[in-house]
């Protein structure tokens, strides 16, 4: 190990005064220049907090930061950035009304002699950056039309444009399409070759083991240790992450390797397909705002899990919008329990007990400035009042109980924005599943979840199935689709390219289908 670390954090302690949670307890953390360093841990283990401290977003209560041996104190992200440290956040900050280019150059616009923004120069410089790192984007696209990975690429490019040397990536696996996870590795290696130092916040074991040089593990606000990636295996890493305290997580079953996934899908009880619950007939969509759909038809029966998968921009998001009443299809029909629901309003669908967990968890799925309780009662607040007066005690009791059932580490009165990403997800999922839905539309189930969270969600999905409900999973994660679904609908360029039983295919096969290679069976 080299002697002088680029970043040296010592004794970082951070307590959130709002809820008294100690997110970091005297954490020591070193990063060597030019390395790819993975920071792993479960949700709420304090890894994001530590990086928020490093990137100037949060102020530590105690502890010191040295950059190249010089003590530093970053009061704002801007100060950190001028010291060369930038962070791509999981919850992205982007000006939706600006184009990609404008977002990238914001704050550092090149000027002409007249003081105007020199767009040509900016375009050229950004183009060079995109070529250099293999991050191709349409710079004139308005930011609001970007998918999450597009937004992340934009944030990354803006940090590179600002000259960031150390780049912190929060859960970067959403940065690249499933089609080519290698692209992520390529980009990371390119970044390292160009002299950047990278810190990856992640809870994906595979990702951290294969992409990084060193791995630091956090648990319950402390840094458990730093290891060379070669010293660790998936088992030893997951053990270090979750420790021995959670019994059901020890042992190989908790590890979402593709082998374990295949075993799990093989052990699905072979429930006979029940009555048809949802049927799509030749759904088409042609509109300005979303990718088009053509002749999308499939069925979903009671007690069945169907995953719709595909690469982003191939129609998954359009299908999500149409099935949940946010967008009306231009052609075709949808039947639910043999009754037409094409073009039904969101409220009508809600009355039919269709639960929906959206991709946009924080924008659509939750109100960040409201309390946990207020987020939990959105579907059934009408049950909690008499003559229009809300029954506060019943609401407290309801949300407290739900919080306990799902092991949410917050009280009903806490503001949602103070919760960790994983706990916010649990608030949303607990609320949706509490209504005992007959149909659950679940988009990107394990998005932003850690090992335990992911396991928890997949178990939940299976238990809903056992109760005879149907689940439609919309996911761009092949492994997830294979692991949980009975059948997989693969989308390609707005069309259904294949419908397969999950035991008949493997990851590679699905990958081919997602790229438009037709299934022969």
């Amino acid at each position: 190990m080299k002697e002088s670390p680029l970043i040296r954090m010592r004794g970082i302690t951070k307590v959130f005064p709002e809820n008294g949670v100690t997110a970091n307890r005297s954490v020591d953390f070193d990063v060597q220049p030019g390395e790819i360093h993975a920071l792993v841990g479960e949700n709420g283990s304090g890894k994001s907090t530590l990086m928020h401290v490093l990137s100037g977003l949060l102020q530590p209560d105690s502890g010191s930061i040295e950059i190249r041996g010089v003590p530093q104190r970053f009061r704002t992200p801007r100060e950190a950035l001028s010291a060369g440290i930038g962070m791509v956040h999981q919850h992205l900050q982007i000006v939706r009304e600006f184009t990609v280019l404008e977002n990238i150059i914001m704050g550092r616009e090149p000027r002409t002699a007249w003081g105007r923004v020199d767009r040509d120069l900016a375009e050229r410089k950004v183009g060079e950056l995109m070529d250099l790192y293999g991050l191709k984007m349409n710079t004139r696209q308005p930011a609001f039309s970007l998918s999450i990975d597009g937004m992340q690429k934009t944030s990354l490019l803006s940090l590179l444009f600002a000259g960031a040397e150390v780049i912190i990536l929060d859960e970067p696996m959403t940065l690249f399409d499933e089609e080519n996870q290698d692209a992520l590795q390529t980009a990371l290696i390119r970044l390292r070759e160009e002299g950047h130092t990278l810190i990856l916040i992640t809870h994906k074991l595979r990702e951290s083991l294969s992409y990084s040089d060193r791995i630091s593990i956090m648990r319950a606000g402390r840094c458990v240790g730093t290891f060379h990636s070669s010293e660790l295996t998936r088992d030893s890493l997951s053990e270090l992450m979750v420790s021995g305290e959670s019994g059901r997580l020890t042992g190989g079953a908790a590890i979402p390797s593709s082998a374990a996934g295949a075993a799990a899908s093989g052990s699905h009880p072979s429930t006979a397909p029940g009555e048809i619950l949802l049927e799509l007939r030749k759904i088409g969509y042609n509109g300005a705002h979303l990718p088009a759909l053509r002749d999308v038809s499939f069925r979903l029966s009671r007690g069945e899990i169907v995953a719709v998968t595909g690469i982003r921009e191939n129609g998954l998001e359009t299908l999500e919008q149409i099935l949940t009443g946010f967008t009306i299809p231009t052609s075709g029909s949808i039947e639910y329990k043999h009754l037409p629901i094409t073009g039904a309003s969101i409220q009508e669908l809600r009355r039919k007990r269709i639960a929906y967990i959206p991709t946009e968890r924080l924008v659509r799925g939750a109100s960040m400035d409201s309390s946990v309780a207020e987020n939990m009662i959105i579907l059934n607040y009408r049950n909690f009042h008499s003559w229009g007066i809300m029954k506060r005690e019943e609401i407290e009791h309801f949300s407290g109980t739900l919080g306990q059932q799902y092991n949410i580490k917050a009280s009903p009165a806490d503001k949602l924005s103070r919760l960790s990403g994983g706990n916010i997800q649990k608030v949303i999922i607990s609320r949706e599943l509490h209504t005992r839905p007959e149909l659950v539309i679940f988009s990107e189930p394990s998005w932003g979840l850690d090992l335990a969270g992911r396991q928890f969600v997949l178990e939940k999905i299976r238990s809903i199935k056992q109760e005879g409900s149907a689940i439609l999973v919309i996911t761009s994660d092949i492994e997830e689709a294979l692991e949980c679904a009975d059948r997989i609908v693969v989308m390609y360029r707005g069309e259904v390219s294949s419908i397969v039983r999950s035991e008949d295919v493997d990851k590679l096969g699905i990958g081919r289908l997602m790229l438009g290679v037709k299934h022969h069976a």
């Binding site: 977003l57 992200p77 900050q93 949940t324 946010f326 969101i346 409220q347 809600r350 009355r351 929906y356 959206p358 946009e360 924008v363 659509r364 799925g365 939750a366 109100s367 960040m368 400035d369 409201s370 309390s371 309780a373 207020e374 009662i377 959105i378 579907l379 607040y381 009408r382 909690f384 009042h385 229009g388 007066i389 809300m390 506060r392 009165a413 503001k415 924005s417 103070r418």
Partner: protein, 343 residues
Amino acid sequence: MHSTRPASTFLSIGVAILAALLLLAAMVPFISETPLNTLRQFLTGPFSNRFYFGNYLNRTGLYILAGLAMVISFQGGMFNLGGEGQVYGGALATTLVLLMVPRFGALPGILLGTAAGIFTGAVMSGLSGFFKMKWNTDELISSFLLSSSIVYTIDYLVSGPLRDTQRFLLSTPEIAEQFRFPVLLNPSHLNAGFLVTLLLVVLAQRFLYHTSAGYELRITGLNREFAKYGGIPVRRYYLIPMALSGAFYGLTGSFYIMGTGYATIQGCTFGMGWNGIAIALIARTSPWLVPPAALVFAFLEYGAETAIMHSDFSSEFGTILQAVVLFFVTARFVKLRTKKGEL
């Protein structure tokens, strides 16, 4: 259940007031020949006798109503910029109703006059909400334009067709004695309307935080997409917060007529519509904090007015002090909001 933390809000309002007073103390020697007298008049003026003190509280009461109007609008995610016209419209409607029904008993008359004021304000503001619901018209602009044209129309009516030529002011005739609110503190204008106003603070708070309609309104105001997703009928929450906000502004006009002015005098709304926005912002859109915010705002205004009357203090400086308080409080508000956005 809500985000406001009263302790820290009180603290930041306190700091803002302190800053304004320090600025006042620092500037007074430059703007006044008799700085100590000016300062004394400013600080103690509103409390120096029953007349001033009562009038100070009376104005606070009207500001509380205007502040509540904006609290409801902001909480519903709407921006009612037409308060000025809505107060004026409410005042005129109340005046006209009470002039037309002189034979009524006191209580039915007062109720009818109040209803007319509320109705006028609610319709004026609700119209902007309706336009937004129907055609996605920006409520900020439509409410402002509508209010401005109403202000000029009423100015004309008061100086022309409705003018009481017996009076020296550009004013309608006065309402009958029986419809005037009983005075609480002679010889000031402080009247029973003030007590009703305090009751309305409690009602507004109960409505927003303890009723299902209040829940719908607040959730829609905070995150319309989430509300829609959760099955709340969001479209009507373009109309409802605007109409309620207008109703409170209209009521402000009614209470002004029945408790203070007794007639619609040209320009009698003296910026209440605008000040409602400032007060709601100082109160961080919390109904509980509206009374203290209104007390502070009216104090700065009233202190300046007494200082003007009894020294060489200029009215502009009073306005500057209000602006300083607003600046400090809202700057902090903005900072809090960005911090939330980042986390």
